[in-house]
Amino acid sequence: MTPQLELTGIVKQYPGCLANDHVDLAVMPGEIHALLGENGAGKSTLVKIIYGVVKPDSGEIRWDGHPVRIDNPNAARARGIGMVFQHFNLFETLTVAENISLGIDPGHDLSELASEIGEISTRYGLPINPHQHIHDLSVGERQRVEIIRCLVQHPRLLIMDEPTSVLTPQEVEKLFETLRRLAAEGCSILYISHKLDEIKELCDAATVLRLGKVTARCTPAEETPKSLAEMMIGSELPVTRKASDGSTAEAEAKLEVRDLSLPSPDPLGTDLSRINLTVREGEVMGIAGVAGNGQKEFLSALNGERRVADAGMIRIAGRDSGTSGPEERRQMGLAFVPEERLGRGSVPEMPLTLNTLLTCYHKDLVKSGFIDFAGIASRATEIREKFDVRSSGIEAEAKSLSGGNLQKFIMGREILQDPEFLILGYPTWGVDVGAAATIRQAIIDLAAGGTSVVVVSEDLDELFEICDRIAVIAEGRLSPARTTSETSVEELGLWMSGQFEAEVRDAA
């Protein structure tokens, strides 16, 4: 059988980085093929080459057995290649049908298109109303719009880039059903993910990339998540160990949130409504939930970037702190790792030294208004060594680091402040497996030393691994917190869709 898509000897050289080094890849018709690899392994470059965004330096692309050139995404779509990006390209104020009509060749009748959308949505189990506005849709529904946008063009290859990071476990199951149905009809699927159990469940074949080279090809069903991870990082996976048995119920409450309500200034943002949370000394508290349910708003209220109306809504170490800003909260021992690394957690154009100063300024690094350059250099060096940050040195600009290394740097910068409270937004999002393990271990060790930690994450496996208790945020409200050993993925998944009202009433 001829592969639907066959790449041979693809090379793409960027200045200072060989992104793809003679990559071969074959995707059979109707096959769900996983593309696996750490951050910076060359997955996205390869996908961009297939979708016509990037031109390879050499190598051959065969489509249906014939050599082809794909000059731009239009050419890719014309050949039947569709792609669903990790970040959606949808206009919030337009309807589903209008958005989809923008993505395809002009000349479509909008009402015809709407009925076609309805047909596709029933056929593939992607319920959506073509006349609804995007801003009314959940993230999962928006992803459906993106998928339907590809399906109206009858693709023969669908590329999915990390599709499940925004979905609840139940939505993931539905997505998998859709993908399996598509594959059964002969459409090939190239599936990019770092969630190994998903790949094991869904994919027929996998190609593993490391440092731009193909290092393994396998059948995921025959592998374990551990063996898949080891193929990706090329060495044995470090194991995180929990220091304590997780019993912190008796410890002192260090961080308390009481009836926190905060309307969002952004009309498309999420209002926080009556959030209650207590984090004890040495406890790791997980906040699960689907992206866009108020995580960002909650994090900025905890950090102090957005002050709340009543100081008593947030108590840090017994002090009413709701109206203090980030600088004051840092003085009280709060450290914070934001969800965006570049541009928020770090200044892209500044070296690591100055990025150290960004949040360590209260640690004796500013003397009567002047920057202590020797001090920040030695601190940056310490972060770099203790957290194994790979960079060309402490003068390297933040933007020159890979996502995982930058995250290790930011984590290190915050952890080495010996915080009493550590607030983490998506600590391992997009970080490679090896670095993620290092980061998780650092969180556990820090809590063992008495620090209270709040972790906001979409990765349930991660939360189960490191948290003592887990709560779920949905539509700006927070569920009761459950001890990790007493809850399940199913329960949290249900809560993610907002169904914890009964529990809230019981608890009250």
Binding site: P15, D105, G343, L358, V366, F370
Partner: protein
Amino acid sequence: MQLRLEPRQSTSRAMQYASPLIAAGLTIIAGIGLFGALGTDPFLALYTFFIQPLTSTYSIAELIIKATPLLLCALGLMVGFRGNVWNIGAEGQLTIGAIASGGVALAAYGSEGPWLLPLMLIAGALGGMAWASIPAVLKTRFNANEILVSLMLTYVAIQLLGHLVHGPWRSPEGFNFPETRTFGDWGILPILVEGTRLHAGIFVALAVLIAVWVLMSRTFQGFKITVAGQAPAAAGYAGFSAKGVVWVSLLISGATAGLAGTVEVMGTIQQLQPVISPGYGFAAIIVAFLGRLHPVGVLLASLLMSLMYLGGESLQMNMNLPLAVTGVFQGLLLFFVLGSDVLTRYRIRIIRDAQPETH
């Protein structure tokens, strides 16, 4: 077909230093074409524009005199531009600085002493700061755009100066000319070189240069401004107050612009007149960017801009070329300098696509 400007992966150091030379070369070539087409001797014209202003002590002194207010304004603007605070009204702050220091000199008329000189400098800086604090208040309280507010206040300031010199402050011995008394001896900056107009204002500018350099490269406050400019979200995350940055930037640029107006009236004009600046405050915006928002770059750029003023005058006077031609030539020079600067950091990509992009 589409042209697109995209950032280069890495900027070549050699090209960064060569870019001014390339710009100079291109300007000369274009100048030869321009002056040749006008029927004048292109080489003589180029000599008159670039070299003649540098041939005598007097003209070199003039070069420095004109560079001084440009340098002062641009140093302050540079601080704000680094922090994404767009003060376009340095011309107005310069005017108010001149009014404030001139007012002090007039008030002290007849009873002056050595204290007047520093007092006038302080008054001028405070005047500029006061004027710049109006856009700062409106920006931080009502989120009013500082570009518009500071620009419009420039015209208010110029009208205010006109009102004062035509009315209440007009010199009683001035035969009804719209100008104030000439300042007393202690209200005038000392001349540095006999036979020229070169005054001590340049030392004020150099002192400000060092202060700005230290501020931006050594102090935490300068760091906050740079972070706020490069990554506002990171500044919010770190807890640096965005309003604080707006205030500090506007007050600093107001103070330096006010000082520019002050040294101009204390050194060059020695009284208040309806017009005290040929647009130094606006030209300083170009100077700040031409100097790549760095103090030393700004110093060099202010000298270049000053040379353009003098070269233009010298073309008009010695070769009888019209003002418009010198304006075109000055524009060409800036075009090449900024163009080669952009092209060292960006490259032009030609995109040919048969079908229009759909999204």
